[in-house]
Subunit: 558 residues, 2 copies
């Protein structure tokens, strides 16, 4: 209504003052009644309105009725007074450019952005001032588990202010600010006066990509990092190698990818890896590489002889190989050197060491392994052998001052884990119990079990992911604190560049909000509305996120 | 091995004669043992080899060991002697250009295609001569249900000959020929000498696209038509409008899309529709439009007042509307004019009139409808009212000399159908019984029930689609003949341009082979191998078909 008046005023050359609404909208955990979407939802473009556009929902939002107008030709993202970051902060400079483009697009406004704003009713917002409060801006650092992602955003005329202790919070706040700005039917960019206080519920919010079952081109990974930033994810769990292929090009052991990659062009060179890490860093995203052993290693065996266990049948080697050979010293020599490289190449303080789904049958067939079992007094408990192996790998990696993530079997099989080890819970069967056990043992847990997004099904399965409550397990407050987050996993058996993006987004967005927003943000109807807007916004920003349900976006995919 | 010798010969400047294999490979319905794919399947690019590349499998194939070489700079697709088609046949000219590009790519060979073939062992194939045997080439016609799609392909040195009674068979044969040509590791284009006799098992092989639940850009529809041609589909069932939106821009009733489309840019103009029809025609694909009534018509009501039934509650209109109002004459006046337009715009001899899922509750609430029921002696049997309506529509459309397709409810509710009506069987529950009933009544049937591809699930669900036998129902030989084919349906509730292609392909390919190939082509392992090749080929040709399983293609998606 105000918009129509605005146009009329513009046409008549008059200044029209819009009606001032007296109420404000405070939202701290949505509390609308839940219900299925109304059929009339089809009739409105999913990104038509300015409201309900925030995803994930901030911890504390107050919006005021007064709208401010932004002129793309004048609006600036700038470093605020007192900020420890300045024009030398490449991370923020890059973010300013990025968010300017997300808000105003690349070219359209240029032709008409200089339209006289004075003819409109709304006061103008001239700047977003970003203030990093910590003494050291940390612009050149990498994000880490303990990074502070909190921010405070205040949007009032004539300038908006975004304050954050660290640059990581500033990145989150820029995303939120860009979500508040909307374009009306007449092409004006508007933002409601508002105040937001925000911080993540969990510090570890990850997406797992699998580049072994199918190779993912660098571009797909980078696009996914963009989408992750739009959803405030902060960990790329890069399941980089597995049985099927070894696309990681090692500096010390180039044969691994020479022989283990699907093809010589389907690899990640050291330069590619650096690009991924830096692209992620600029978006406040950690890259945790996973080099899963001793199982899931068939592709390793092609380029590294005498690494895998020869399988036997009838007293003879069959020519097949099983998991990494845990009994030879050469195995540990190799792993020592290999993980030294990995520790250097990947700056994150954590490395994921896998340890899942170890098939014991080959070990059981191998005479040398059996002899070793006897010598060590493991009896016929091959889980003990597995733990022996894993223990060695953990020690190697610890010696490089890296923390470790492992899949839950490593815990289940009773490896002695250092207290800061992160156990990733993935088995769907009674994961609450597993969370109890892991945290009961004083270990840190990351939850993935309910979020295996490669398992597709018909309809709005985002609701299922959304409705998970990670802390719904029996345990003390102290135990609950040991659950540091979760990961949406998109295993690659049926996923490559052709379907990665629409399969992951916006389904992973449901996980993103669960891990960021307050635990009481659970209303499905409210989430549905916001998710539709958010999906359209992702589309506009170049992410081919699939539709939530029937309808359309003002900017459709082409 | 021959390839390696070829290279050695090339390097030494010698002519090397490859070993001649003495056996030939005759395949008439594959008969290998069925089993899960071997793990070693990952290790080979899914499009690495020349064998197992045909999809759908022709009715009769004989391949010989001798390979012929094609020089892109010399190879020609030409009209053969005695063909009724010549350079004036735009349809074949376009197909020649298209298949030349599919075989040789757009640019790569130009830089090195003139490499001296004499240095290689293989004799050269210079031409594919295409001969249309019918007196009238039919180049400017539209394909129809009775079109002949048979062809005979003979590949021997120095020229290959493709003979077909009609151009439609030539199109299918060109696809097959292009599938035989493969590029070896050294960039040479090779084809084995071979002979193929082929024809479709069923004449109606369709894909349903839904442009109402989500708008599909023209480009998506055209890309899908390309993919359909690669799979020898010949019917695009265009479910163009439905409750959610009315994107068809009518010439007589432009308000229908002005008010019923999601947005004024999300429509199909008359020019768009012509483009779709012609693009499809050039690929031997019929376009059957569906204008579903009396249900599924909410969007119609926006642009056409007094068309839908006003719903009542407590003796008062509620403001909501139900199905098309079957009691007013104005309804039939409108439909007479509307379907006159549709009959003119769409050249196919069939129009799909829908008739599914009519909700009677609004009709039951409406006093005028109840009065009409009484007058007509329908009692409280609203299926009779539905049939009354449908009957009228069928009569209208018949008067324009169009055949009719309808969803199975129209038959189930005992409308009096003309003998040439095609009943589309879609209800998954006991569809074999429905096929028995429909054909038992002497009506023609098209099967869709087991092929609702919008219902996604984890894993290789193509096997489920592939394993359907359409004629497995109790009925006479005469009844079986009345099943003219089937359709893979991709309803649009959760599909738009972001995910259409990878969701449909190669899953629909399974349906494509089932409808084209001999009924004894059922071996899953053989199909798996060929489907992987075929999927890689689609990728190379610009179709973002999703992976069948782990692995890679020589030309990966980027």
């Amino acid at each position: 209504m105000c918009r129509a008046m605005g146009l009329a005023g513009l046409l008549l050359g008059l200044v029209v003052v819009p009606a001032v609404l007296v109420s404000t909208n405070l939202r701290q955990g949505a509390a609308r009644t839940g219900a299925e979407p109304e059929p009339s939802d089809w009739e409105v473009a999913a990104d038509a309105g300015p409201e309900d556009s925030l995803w994930p929902l901030p911890q504390w939002v107050r919006t005021y009725p007064r709208q401010l107008q932004l002129a793309p030709s004048r609006f600036q993202l700038v470093h605020g007074a007192g900020s420890s970051a300045g024009p030398g902060c490449g991370l923020l400079q890059d973010a300013f450019r990025r968010y300017y483009e997300y808000m105003f697009g690349r070219s359209r406004w240029r032709t008409w952005g200089r339209w006289p704003l004075a003819a409109r009713a709304e006061p103008e917002l001239f700047q977003l001032q970003v203030v990093i409060e910590a003494g050291d801006s940390g612009c050149d650092r990498h994000p880490q588990l303990g990074s502070n992602e909190a921010y405070h955003l205040s949007v009032t005329q004539p300038v908006a202010v975004l304050k954050a202790p660290e640059v990581w919070g500033a990145l989150r706040g820029l995303e939120t600010f860009s979500q508040l700005v909307h374009e009306d039917d007449y092409g004006s960019f508007l933002v409601n006066e508002s105040e937001i206080n925000d911080f993540p519920r969990f510090p570890h919010r990850g997406v797992l990509l699998d580049t072994s079952r199918h190779y993912l081109p660098l571009k797909s990974i980078l696009t996914n990092l963009d989408a992750m930033a739009f959803n405030k994810f902060n960990v790329l769990h890069w399941h980089i190698v597995d049985d099927q292929s070894f696309p990681y090009q090692s500096i010390y052991f180039p044969e691994l990818s020479d022989k283990g990659a699907y093809s010589s062009n389907l690899i990640y060179t050291p330069a590619d890896v650096r690009v991924v890490i830096e692209y992620a860093r600029l978006r406040g995203i950690r890259v945790i590489p996973e080099f899963d052993t001793p199982g899931h290693t068939q592709s390793w065996g092609k380029g590294q002889k005498d690494l895998l266990t020869p399988c036997y049948s009838g007293g003879q080697p069959t020519g097949s190989f099983g998991p990494v050979n845990p009994v030879w010293n050469t195995t540990y020599d190799f792993m020592t050197k290999f993980f030294k490289e990995i520790s250097n190449v990947f700056p994150d303080e954590f490395i994921h060491l896998g340890g899942d789904e170890v098939d014991f049958s080959c070990w059981k067939s191998n005479p040398e392994v059996k002899e070793f079992m006897k010598k060590r007094g493991f009896g016929i408990d091959y889980a003990k052998l597995e733990s022996y192996y894993v223990q060695n790998i953990l020690d190697i990696v610890s010696s490089y001052n890296k923390g470790q993530m492992v899949w839950q079997e490593v815990f289940d099989h009773k490896a002695q884990l250092k207290p800061d080890t992160i156990v990733q819970v993935w088995m769907a069967n009674n994961y609450a119990h597993e969370l109890s056990s892991v945290t009961g043992a004083g270990l840190t847990a990351v939850l993935s079990a309910p979020w295996y997004l490669d398992y597709i099904s018909y309809g709005q399965d985002w609701k299922k992911y959304y409705s998970v409550e990670p802390l719904k397990f029996s345990g003390s407050e102290k135990q609950k604190k040991l659950v540091i987050g979760g990961e949406a996993c998109l295993w690659g058996e049926f996923v490559d560049a052709t379907n990665l993006t629409p399969r992951l987004w916006p389904r992973a967005s449901a996980v993103g909000e669960r891990l960021w927003s307050s635990s009481n943000v659970t209303n499905l109807q409210d989430a549905y509305r916001r998710l539709r807007h958010h999906r359209c916004r992702m589309l506009r920003r170049g992410i081919a996120a699939e539709p939530v349900f029937v309808g359309y976006c003002a900017h459709e995919a082409r």
